[in-house]
Symmetry: none
Subunit: 224 residues, 4 copies
């Protein structure tokens, strides 16, 4: 399982051109917001909750962000771009499509394992945001789709993958399968702690199952 790319997800990224102290506080607000959004949902989360979680006065939030909405879109943009970079790194690697897909699955599931609040917000909140429909974010989400679709197309051209399936639809099937596996973790529909091998093992199992189903199908060998 790829260990490199997904780690990048966890490191704060940008912070702008200002002083280190400012950057730090800005980061603290974003982290706090991720926690609070994950816990209460964007709409229920109050700016004062975020400030309390960050340990600062709530008026200060408005020195760093224009408004609440901007916090959400900043979370999205900054974290997402990190994610896309990791995805592109996967894409560029010279390995079979199969392995790339395992890496993508690991990237996504690992992100959740390491930063569940972050993924919760991405999975559950940002798609609800009015700005999701905005060109910027739509393009951003689209980039994930297109990245995966490119991997699939490359696999089809190399003969590794079937050519009779629409790669755009197949891509949603793949990402969707991953997403719901995630969501069932997020919402604790499934209980990783109760599964054999502990949480880590569970995530691995999910990643492999998704890719296995996706590549080989569920039909018994003699039936395919």
């Amino acid at each position: 399982m790829a260990r490199g790319p997904q780690l990048a997800l966890c490191s704060p990224i940008d912070g702008g051109p200002a002083s280190p102290a400012r950057r730090e506080k800005r980061e603290a607000i974003l982290e706090a917001a991720i926690e609070v959004f994950a816990r209460c949902g964007y709409h229920r989360a109050r700016v004062s909750d975020i400030a309390r979680e960050a340990g600062i006065a709530y008026g200060l939030v408005y020195h760093y962000f224009k408004n609440k909405e901007e916090i959400l879109s900043t979370i999205f943009e900054e974290r997402w771009s990190t994610f896309l970079e990791a995805l592109e790194a996967v894409e560029r690697r010279d390995v079979p499509a199969r392995e790339k897909l395992v890496s993508v699955a690991a990237l996504i599931l690992n992100a959740y394992r390491l930063r569940p609040a972050w993924v919760k917000v991405l999975v559950l909140e940002i798609q609800r945001s009015s700005r999701f429909a905005e060109p910027g974010q739509l393009r951003a989400v689209g980039a994930l789709f297109q990245g995966v679709a490119r991997i699939l197309r490359a696999g089809q051209q190399s003969g590794e993958l079937r050519r009779d399936l629409d790669p755009d639809i197949a891509c949603t099937v793949f990402l969707g399968g991953l997403e719901l596996a995630l969501t069932s973790l997020v919402l604790e529909l499934a209980r990783p702690d109760a599964a054999a091998g502990g949480a880590d093992g569970y995530y691995l199992r999910v990643a492999h199952t998704v890719v296995d189903v996706f590549l080989n199908g569920l039909a018994a060998g003699d039936a395919s």
Copy 2:
């Protein structure tokens, strides 16, 4: 493709023990709420929007529902139970697992084709509701998972499906693939109207692609 069960999705269900007129208006409010929730999202939707959409006075909504939250959970409960009944009908049919899965996919995608607002609300809103975590609704969502998982287990026992994959994880992969295909329709990431064969053809293609991927995998024949 199954034609029977999914039609039930579109018929109002309960309405309580009151007069037909009362039932009708109650239904009108629910329909209006579905439209508005689908358009603006639950939190952005104002009760007054629902009332205007339903063509009734503001306060009348409160004659039929205790509060806004109850409207959402009513939508969920009444529509979802219809959906589960359709699912159970599929499950009981004496056909191969493969065909059952096609029916489930058709059920879900067809529901969206016929009542996109309804599915939007189910897919995008109800999981956001605070009540989603409540036993009742959690169980309700769980029932879909379990229904599909039962179909998978039956297929495994009959030898039609591989036995080396966890049916619970596989079930999330299947439903998740469907869901994201749906979401990409809902959010118009994909454009059915632009696809060859028109919208109907597109839905069919999605259903078949999902099931095909799910059963046979994406790997090229000689590579599996």
Copy 3:
């Protein structure tokens, strides 16, 4: 203890010029309103509560009364005038002032014993009403004061009562003493059921104590 006058308190009075059936229903609404006002207070009481208590449709209330306020003032006026008539009957009797005051106390306490809800509303609600300040009701309440004050003045002139005390102030002391004794019953600050002699005995004791204190004072014989 006077048995005659206070009974009049319990009989419905007027009913207007209409049919007996109409009169009956009107009365039912008033009785229901008294119960509900006593239970919840005027402001918390909903017209629908009154209608439910009366066993009628709530729109019907508006066939009999212009609005909720009119119900309260009707209760006040009709019951109060009965009360005043009883008071005047006491006043006209050719007995010592002392006995008249016992009768007034008995009249008031007995009314509570027989119709606690009625007295609750009079004691606790009507003084809160905005209409209390209106000439009609102010005059009505004033009539009670003046009636008692007349009894006191007559006693002063006959030499039965001290002449050095302002009868208007003395009258508020007397009525106030009665009222708070009542209120402590209404609010169950005192518990008649726990007192020796049961509820009836308690009311009698209260009546006698009030009049005794009022006439003879609390000072020990050698101290007065």
Copy 4:
């Protein structure tokens, strides 16, 4: 007439642990609420009225108090406890019961002379509050009763007061007499300004009349 204790009634009490400015504003809101409640009654008073009276913005009220109800109960609790302290100070004094009762009457009437709105709210509003029935406030009101009853019992034991009357009932007679004298002032049934000696003289006369009636009775000397 006692001059010390009742003054305490007028001083703000608590204010919580916050900054002086915050305490001041909190106090301003309470004072404004007392005025508005006294003027319109609790139910008719709008939070916006209170804010306007206090000269602050609407929403600021909610920075200081959870809701409207809490304003009322705060008024009650903070002011009432001051009142009880004054009562206890009277009780502890080493003077005859007669003098203590004069002090209690003066305490109550003086409070009204100095802060009529405060007493109006206590007399007319708080007993209507739903919270009046709550243990805390019931106990608080009970404390006044019990304080007076203790004074009476002490007087009975010292031989100063008659022992044949129930001190609990006598206590309601005393307090009730005072209360209605007050209420008739509050509601302007009596007009102090028109009375000989002006308002101050009137209050004194009321206090003395109440205590005189209460101790010596109204019966003429030869009739007792």
